[in-house]
């Protein structure tokens, strides 16, 4: 090994590896469902090629893929709806009708398929781009939109947080904060509480989601450490830690976040199980996440899954990626569209047609537009809500401050 000196800098892995650079694994969603596997064993699990063909059909599995048509269709519907919704929100932001938006464009498989692998009793501690999981679980679209507008119908935050900070206790989706990685140790605690209150193997599990950039935060490291060490009732925590590696954190490529060979390989150092999956392949994501969920539900060692994908859009509506990255690479990744891939797969299966996709898009667009028309009419939150929920009861000093704020409320509008 050559010494790393200033004169002889290590060669950085290309910031944007091309799709074919990834070592492929098409046989097992869990090549490394063992603790102590080496980093190079973490091949990237794939089921479908970019054109939707099964790379290596497995005759032992349903449809040769291990995914039922009903599951595939359910995912596709949510993925398309997510795309339509994101596009609409981005347009709204450009028109100045909403303040901010973080889209999941190109990451619909990583979001929806991972969510699809969970049961409704399972909980999600999300990062910014997991909102689609919540919708996929059945959370009403009007609540999603009300959160973005922060109006009276915003049951997630009562207009207290920026857009995309959704939350629902009923649907097991913990209200996001804007702070990177803090959700990860919390997910460990939630899983711990689940393990204390429900016996394996039939118990809820918790998913902690994070982005590639945020894996550099201390809280990520702390969560991985705790995830390995905590073993209530002598079993592994019912916990999945899940990174959508979209290869960018605003303008910073993943190669500048870590010198580790892959993010998934980090699992090994903490005694966790690591797995790596093609994040643009919904079937592969579902297979890996289902295997992982089943494993931890039964009491296995927590699993850290890396879904490799690409942020084909801007970071958020306040970002312009052409300033820091080569958008030709983005175009290459955009061509690996997860929706197209799943769509083509279903076409090949003979249960889906181009016209169906078109109809689905139109239906989703109509749903978004009509819901939007209603939600935009909802009045803003009342002044009292500024002082509620700081504590369980409004304490005297906040009652006094509310009275003071009331005197100026009209002028503030």
């Amino acid at each position: 090994m050559t010494a790393r000196t200033a004169q002889n800098p290590p060669e950085l892995a290309s910031a944007n590896p091309s799709y074919n650079d990834f070592e492929q694994n098409t046989t097992s969603p869990f090549p490394t469902l063992t603790v102590g596997a080496t980093a190079d064993q973490l091949g990237l699990f794939r089921v479908l090629s970019p054109d939707g063909k099964i790379i290596q059909p497995d005759s032992d599995l349903e449809n040769g893929t291990g995914v039922s048509d009903a599951d595939a269709l359910a995912m596709l519907r949510s993925m398309v709806r997510q795309r339509v919704l994101d596009d609409r929100m981005l347009a709204l932001q450009r028109q100045g009708r909403i303040g901010f938006y973080g889209a999941a464009t190109g990451q619909e498989a990583g979001t929806i398929a991972a969510g699809h692998a969970l049961e409704l009793r399972d909980w999600i501690h999300p990062a910014l781009r997991e909102g689609g999981m919540l919708l996929h679980r059945g959370w009403p679209l009007w609540q999603y939109l009300a959160q973005i507008f922060g109006n009276q119908d915003d049951t997630s935050t009562k207009g207290r947080q920026m857009p995309c900070h959704y939350g629902s206790r009923e649907f097991g989706y913990v209200t996001l904060s804007s702070v990177m990685a803090t959700q990860m140790p919390q997910a460990v605690g939630t899983a711990y509480a689940m393990a204390m209150q429900h016996a394996a193997p039939d118990r809820p599990i918790c998913l902690g989601a994070i982005g590639d950039g945020a894996t550099s935060e201390g809280d990520f490291h702390v969560a991985m450490t705790f995830a390995g060490v905590m073993r209530p009732r002598g079993l592994g925590l019912p916990l999945l830690l899940y990174v959508q590696n979209n290869q960018w954190a605003i303008s910073t490529p993943v190669a500048k976040q870590t010198a580790a060979p892959t993010l998934a390989s980090k699992a090994l150092g903490y005694g966790l199980v690591g797995a790596r999956v093609d994040g643009n392949d919904a079937l592969a994501v579902l297979r890996v996440m289902r295997a992982a969920a089943d494993h931890v539900r039964r009491g296995g060692v927590p699993v850290f899954v890396e879904a490799v994908t690409y942020r084909v859009g801007a970071h958020t509506t306040s970002d312009d990626p052409s300033r820091y990255r080569d958008e030709r690479v983005t175009q290459q990744w955009a061509a690996l569209d997860p929706i197209e891939r799943l769509h083509n797969y279903l076409k090949i299966r003979g249960i889906w047609q181009d016209a169906d996709l078109q109809a689905l898009r139109e239906h989703s667009d109509e749903e978004v537009r009509s819901t939007l028309a209603k939600v935009e009419q909802v009045p803003p939150v009342a002044l009292e809500t500024l002082f509620e929920d700081v504590y369980a009861k409004v304490p005297p000093h906040l009652q006094a401050q509310l009275a003071e704020a009331r005197r100026y409320h009209a002028k503030a509008q």
């Binding site: 997630s156 140790p185 919390q186 605690g189």
Partner: protein, 339 residues
Amino acid sequence: MATMNIIQAVGDALHVAMQADEKVVVLGEDVGKFGGVFRATVGLQQAFGDDRVIDTPLAESGIIGAAIGMALYGMRPVAEIQFSDFIYPAYDQIVNELAKYRYRSAGLFPSPLVIRTPFGGGIRGGHYHSQSPESVFAHQAGLVLVAPSNPYDAKGLLLSAIFADDPVMVLEPKRVYRGPDHGTNWGSHKKSEVPSGDYRVPIGKAEVARPRTGRGIAVSLITYGAMVHTCDKAAELAAQEGIDVEILDLRTLVPYDLERVAEAGRATGRVVVANEAPRMCGYAAEMSAVIQEQCFDWLQAPIVRVTGWDTPFPYTLENDYLPSPARVLDALRTVAHYR
């Protein structure tokens, strides 16, 4: 009823709470097998098992982060931070997460949990085993802050905290853990009589730790934690000089007992506020401000603060740093004789 020191009272509260509710868990560094570096959790793991009394890895943000997750899912965690000086790795989890959870989630995800942590100097602990962080956390809407000064309150406040609906930070006055003012024995103190079983000291209520006698110039002395005992000595000395001191032990720092504080200001018009932490934006500054807002027409003298200096907490010179009875006495004289 038994005579206890603060450590024993804390341990007793934890026993009572864990017995009463299996959702209560204790977690922190060295709290399990060993019983904590101050021995507050001795015997808990033997009694309740290592799933409920958890020796965690050495990472404060993990302790608080995991405790938050547990609380979100219905448990009642009591996290110990070994010394409040070491709370800062968890600062983000406390300030941005814990304090705001109920609010940011429109009330859907409250995270009621307790953080117990010893604070204050006087144990020859240098920079990093002596600090008083209360104003840093008092500034964070959503947190409740309590600071008992004696065994009775320590148990009663901790039990209130564990079963409260809000996150509560319990600042434990480590200098007087085993006896008032460097003593090793709480035996003769009236607040060392601790009832067995469950009882609660209400959050948000101050208490008169030393009433006025009605003889001499009336002064109100407002303080909390270990400083209650320093102030008591000063009041004793002041009495000999004809200064009649009422000590108000705040017990809860957020949300504090505004009514009782204002009453103290109006009753005497002469107020001293004492805290160990640095003066700059310290807790005494809030007290001074609110008293002049609420009691201006009653004030007979400027409010005087007695505090630690605006330096890092020292090692060898800690007795020069800590407000001593002599410094408090001088402040009492200043306000008593102001014309």
